[in-house]
């Protein structure tokens, strides 16, 4: 719980800058890279912000139980301390439950009060922490109580001097007195809870590696490689056979990953681009087990005798030697490659790579089938996938 408080405090302190309406946006410079949507502080404001943070850390050091290793979790906050944040002018705002000369002198004995302002608030940080902790204890996404299960997160807002309760509900419902009464009766009777409606719960950002398991309705298969479609959208390539249709939802475990575009299962292609619709999945070129990265923007056409490095969810990492580069499968996919690594059901769509070096290899294709009699991997060539689907290797 202490670690949660640490993360929340740090995040809230840094983000509190953005909660205060700004009338001084000219202080921010637009990043020169047009693909990056970030505002950059001017040097002057950055310096002021750095000074404010140094003072904040001096306070934490002063109150810390262990001055050698200060974290916000091992700090003994004074009962009159309400919190602190950096305002838009990059002043350190120190919140206190009462303000008089003795309070100012106290803080003045610890830090330089230049660019420091004081704000009187109703609740001390210790009171906010206690209320926050009580709600955290109740959080349970699997609760049979609908309200409890809809708690998406709990935070502390210093500028509002409140506990922030994030609930999966509509904005309209969150504003009703009935809902507020429900929160009071079932979650917390703390007087200053700010209810924030949210469309979804917090989710960790996860990589979807080539070779990892993906599922669609009734089937499991493997992710091939990350790619971009003609619109620049990110997604993964896998092998649909005849069991994925356009518009099908593709999952990773119980989480939606994306939506299938037009599948191709004829000629020399058994491939589909699955557009990522869940930004909680991040693209990666890294393949664990092999410990190499796929090289961006390129592919390779391997000759007979070349070594292949494949990964699928059923058989994991396998290496093999190419035995045929002009193979037509008994289910009529032509211009395929057979390599002497074995495979099994579930490996469909899994990555096949080759060339490069032990740390960086090129996409050679994705697995489509198992050769009768040998159980060798049959893969469709990357060149055919790329030209038919109009994608580029991420």
């Amino acid at each position: 719980m202490n670690r949660i408080i640490t993360v929340i405090l740090t995040f809230t302190l840094l983000m509190s800058v953005w909660l205060i309406p700004s009338s001084n946006m000219v202080a921010f410079e637009e990043a020169t890279d047009t693909n990056v949507n970030l505002a950059v502080l001017s040097d002057e404001l950055q310096e002021l912000e750095n000074e404010a943070n140094e003072k904040y850390n001096e306070l934490l050091n002063e109150w810390s139980e262990n001055s050698q290793f200060v974290t916000e979790s091992n700090v003994n906050y004074p009962d009159f301390y309400g919190g602190a944040y950096i305002n838009n002018e990059k002043e350190l705002v120190i919140q206190v439950t009462y303000l008089d000369d003795s309070i100012e002198e106290y803080f003045g004995s610890i830090i330089n009060l230049t660019n420091v302002v004081f704000e009187e608030v109703s609740y001390s940080f210790n009171e906010l922490k206690q209320a926050h902790g009580e709600i955290v204890e109740k959080m349970n996404p699997n609760s049979s109580d609908l309200l409890i299960s809809s708690i998406a997160g709990v935070g502390i807002s210093f500028p509002d001097n409140s506990v922030s309760l994030y609930v999966v509900t509509s904005d309209a419902v969150a504003k009703t007195s009935a809902f507020n009464n429900q929160v009071r009766d079932n979650i917390s009777d703390f007087e200053n809870i700010k209810i924030i409606s949210t469309p979804g719960k917090d989710a960790t950002v996860a990589d979807l590696e080539p070779g990892a398991e993906i599922t669609d309705s009734g089937y499991t298969r493997s992710a091939g490689f990350w790619a971009r479609n003609a619109n620049g959208d990110l997604g993964i390539i896998t092998a649909p056979h005849s069991s994925i249709s356009q518009g099908d939802t593709i999952w990773v475990g119980t989480t939606v990953f994306g939506t299938a575009s037009t599948p191709y299962f004829s000629g020399s292609v058994d491939a589909v681009f699955v557009e990522r619709t869940n930004a909680n999945f991040s693209a990666t070129r890294y393949i664990s087990g092999w410990n190499f990265n796929l090289i961006s923007g390129t592919y390779t056409t391997l000759a007979v005798g070349s070594t292949t490095y494949s990964k699928g969810k059923a058989t994991g990492c396998k290496s093999g030697v190419i035995v045929d580069t002009n193979y037509t499968t008994s289910y009529n996919i032509s211009d395929c490659v057979v390599t002497s690594a074995t495979c099994d059901s579930g490996d469909s769509g899994g990555i096949v790579a080759g060339g490069g070096s032990s740390s960086s290899r090129r996409v050679a294709g994705i697995m489509t089938g198992k050769q009768g009699g040998t159980n060798y991997i049959i893969y469709v060539k990357a060149a055919n996938i790329i030209s038919t689907l109009g994608i580029t290797v991420y």
Partner: protein, 150 residues
Amino acid sequence: MLHRLLILTALAVLTVFSSGCGAKEDYPWGVHKSDIAVAAGQEVGVKMQEGSLTKTGAEFIVFNSGEEDIYLGVEFFLQIYDGGDWCDIEGNAVDWTLEQMFITPGGEASQVVSWDNMYGELPEGRYRFVKSVAIGDSNEHYACEFEIKD
């Protein structure tokens, strides 16, 4: 010595002609006695969709009345009942796509199959369609019997 050798030879010939699996019938492919154990198929099993059977294919339904998810690929094989034994049929090797089906408890999944590439048109006989199914850490074979009549 020669007398004993003749008796042994005669016994060997009799053994060959009296064993099952290919000894009495003329099949378009080789057969041999199978050592694959097929599970009873009560909670998990295979049944045929009524009316779907032809000499070159059929629709089969794998059902799961058990308590765990089951997993299976598209691969299958046929066996023929001959001479009192179930026998593997030595058909043509074919390639298989690599998707894996999963069936949750209470569910079922159908698979329309054609064995034309593997065995051609089946001659008259008693057959069974066999699937390998993974349940937890174990693999079992489940089968559905059918008959081909001329």
